[in-house]
């Protein structure tokens, strides 16, 4: 974080514009409970910050001082809050503030205060910054496509300021880059169920099922599309069990003979909703069974026994799953 500006730092006490201010040191009392040593620059900046804060001085120099304090430690709530009061009081150029934020967010993209400040600004600037905000979160996702703060900000911008057009294809783009990106799958569900442009979950279900299935066939070990598939049939397990594409993708994955844990789990879901398994599907389950003695038991029990063997860390979960499937005919 050591920029040009910081290397040439002149101590505040040597700056003429601060000559009239007496810095206020941190009061830790005689026996500090959690004593912390600070760098000299940090101590001096915070001592002057305390002085302007206590005097409630909402001036251009105080604004600049908060910037210096933020560059030294961007996690301090008080500094940010005071900065907002000053920005308001001075009627400052908020576009300039947004540029400053762009810079420090790039350096520290996982800081709650920075993102909250950004949202405060975007809310004040209004709808015309929506596309700029989307561009910015995109930039953050180029480095970390799962940044929780940036996703939260993006969802807020979509709902408060708009810019939904292109969001579904952006999700596809991210999933294409990394099919395991659960954040992108979550965003996809958010868009499909909330976008005012797409018509809602019911309308989108059919094409999204196809999309999820394609992703499953690419990487069957990826839990995200399997969950997405269930989510598309939320609260309606019967419609999931009645969609022939679901049983079919399970069969395809089992036939590949690797990474079939999620496929077996899905078969249990189907059986819970009275799906009648085909002979092919039963044979495919037999074919992946590591234990030949399992051939005589019912399908659900067999599936759970296989899962216990191939995923021993969760064996209690799979044992419990056995009890959730109603007896087969």
């Amino acid at each position: 974080m050591k920029g040009e500006e910081e290397r040439e730092r002149i101590p505040i006490k040597e700056r003429p514009e601060w000559a009239d201010v007496r810095p206020v040191p941190q009061d830790d009392g005689p026996n500090p409970v959690v004593p912390i040593d600070y760098t000299d620059d940090f101590t001096e900046t915070m001592d002057y910050f305390r002085a302007v804060y206590l005097a409630d001085e909402r001036s251009p120099r105080a604004l600049h001082l908060t910037k210096e304090a933020i560059l030294l430690n961007s996690g301090n709530y008080t500094v940010w809050q005071f900065r907002r009061l000053i920005l308001d009081a001075l009627n400052a150029d908020l576009h300039e503030e947004l540029q400053f934020l762009d810079q420090i967010t790039r350096e520290n993209a996982k800081n709650y205060q920075i993102w909250y400040h950004r949202r405060w600004l975007a809310e004040k600037l209004g709808e015309h910054v929506a596309s700029k905000e989307h561009e910015f979160s995109r930039e953050i996702f180029c480095k970390d496509a799962k940044n929780y703060h940036a996703w939260s900000h993006r969802q807020w911008v979509l709902q408060a300021l708009g810019g939904w057009e292109g969001e579904l294809s952006y999700c596809s783009e991210l999933i294409k880059d990394d099919i395991f990106n659960n954040s992108a799958w979550n965003q996809r569900y958010f868009v499909v169920s909330k976008s005012p442009l797409l018509g809602g979950l019911e309308v989108m279900r059919d094409s999204e099922v196809a999309y999820a299935i394609e992703a499953i066939l690419t990487k069957p070990e990826n839990e995200s599309p399997w969950r997405y598939l269930r989510g598309l049939h939320k609260n309606d397990g019967k419609s999931l069990a009645n969609d022939p594409r679901v049983a079919s993708v399970c069969l395809d994955v089992l036939t590949g003979k690797t990474d079939y844990i999620h496929a077996l789990n899905m078969i249990l879901d189907l059986l819970c909703h009275r799906h009648q398994p085909s002979k092919e599907l039963k044979d495919a389950v037999d074919a992946v069974s590591p234990d030949p003695n399992l051939s005589d038991v019912g399908l659900a029990e067999k599936v759970c026994s296989i899962l216990k063997l191939v995923d021993p860390m969760r064996s209690n979960y799979w044992e419990w799953r056995k009890s959730t499937v109603p007896a087969q005919d």
């Binding site: 409970v33 912390i36 040593d37 760098t39 709530y77 659960n182 969950r227 979960y317």
Partner: protein, 320 residues
């Protein structure tokens, strides 16, 4: 493998003298504003290890009380700052209440002045401070704080619960706001708040339990979201959530305990996020708390919802 005794030595350092004595240490700069959280992590760990008597409680309590907002500039909420002279925020306020609870000193608080209830919004959600950032973390913090103060009647619990439920996702997990991705830390907050308010039935326990147990990776550690690296802090967030929904037997507890123990600094004490990384207060707390939830020998039991030792919680609710 075992929990080395020097884990507590590490904490004497944190809570008495010489913390982060290295000058120019970046960590010491960024810690300044969250000293109250640091005190909570350190002191709770010491208590779980049965060593809380190593600190001078009068000094700690007197320092904490100085962190409460004295300015009176804010109408309503007048909570604690991260340090003396800092603006109040719910996050530090819960830490302050928790530390006071450890010392059985909640009665020194002027609860009416605190006015956490003023941070509840119309839709039932909570803001973290007067600036209005909304997050399910703040729902948990407000609810946990008010429960410890026995003042839950000050808020609209029904609406608070409804807001949390609106953040439930297709995988049974919860995010920071409606529609946000499930994240183990947020799940702890939401399940914890629901447990404290007696509303845990709103959780889809089997669905969420499966998502949570899928967080265990080959090394035995837990991650916080699919395809992320394991981290000791999730030993707390995931494990406590699993306990609150009665599904903790769905993971391999032995493998998890071994993972946490493997993250110790065997020479200097303390626990890191992953094996061979640098230790810190935050991860040491989560590691020890996780081991406590796993019923590791000679550790005090910790309450999965209040994140305090069970005897501390019992003293609040079962003594008049």
């Amino acid at each position: 493998m075992c929990l080395y005794a020097n884990v507590s030595i590490f904490f004497y350092g944190v809570t008495s003298a010489n913390i982060l004595e290295k000058k120019d240490d970046f960590a010491s700069v960024v810690m300044e504003h969250l000293r109250l959280n640091g005190a909570y992590w350190g002191l709770t760990t010491l208590d779980v290890l049965g060593k809380l008597d190593a600190v001078n409680q009068d000094e700690v309590v007197s320092w904490i009380m100085q962190c409460q907002d004295q300015s009176g500039v804010y109408p309503g909420f007048s909570g604690f700052g991260g340090n003396i002279g800092h603006d109040p925020h719910l996050h530090y306020t819960l830490s302050a209440i928790q530390v006071l609870a450890l010392f059985d000193k909640i009665d020194v608080l002027d609860i009416e002045k605190l006015d956490i209830a003023s941070l509840q919004n119309e839709d039932g959600s909570f803001s973290g401070d007067i600036w209005g950032e909304v997050d399910t973390r703040f729902s948990y913090i407000a609810i946990c704080s008010l429960a410890l103060l026995q003042r839950l009647d000050k808020i609209n619990v029904e609406k608070a619960v409804a807001y949390i439920v609106s953040c439930k996702n297709l995988d049974g997990g919860f995010g920071c706001t409606p529609g946000a991705e499930s994240h183990a830390g947020q799940i702890f907050c939401c399940v914890g708040a629901l447990a404290i308010t007696g509303s845990v039935d709103h959780v889809d326990k089997d669905l969420l339990g499966w998502w949570l147990c899928e967080r265990q990776v080959k090394s035995g550690g837990l991650n916080g979201r699919p395809e992320k690296l394991p981290d000791v802090c999730y030993s707390w967030w995931v494990l406590s959530s699993l306990i609150m929904i009665d599904r903790v037997h769905w993971i391999d507890k032995k493998k998890l305990a071994d993972f946490i123990l493997d993250c110790q600094d065997k020479e200097n004490g303390g626990i890191s996020d992953r094996p061979d990384d640098a230790v810190d207060v935050f991860h040491t707390y989560f590691g020890v708390a996780g081991l406590s939830l796993l019923e590791y020998p000679e550790l005090k039991a910790i309450d999965p919802a209040y994140a305090l030792p069970v005897d501390v919680v019992n003293k609040i609710f079962f003594t008049t």
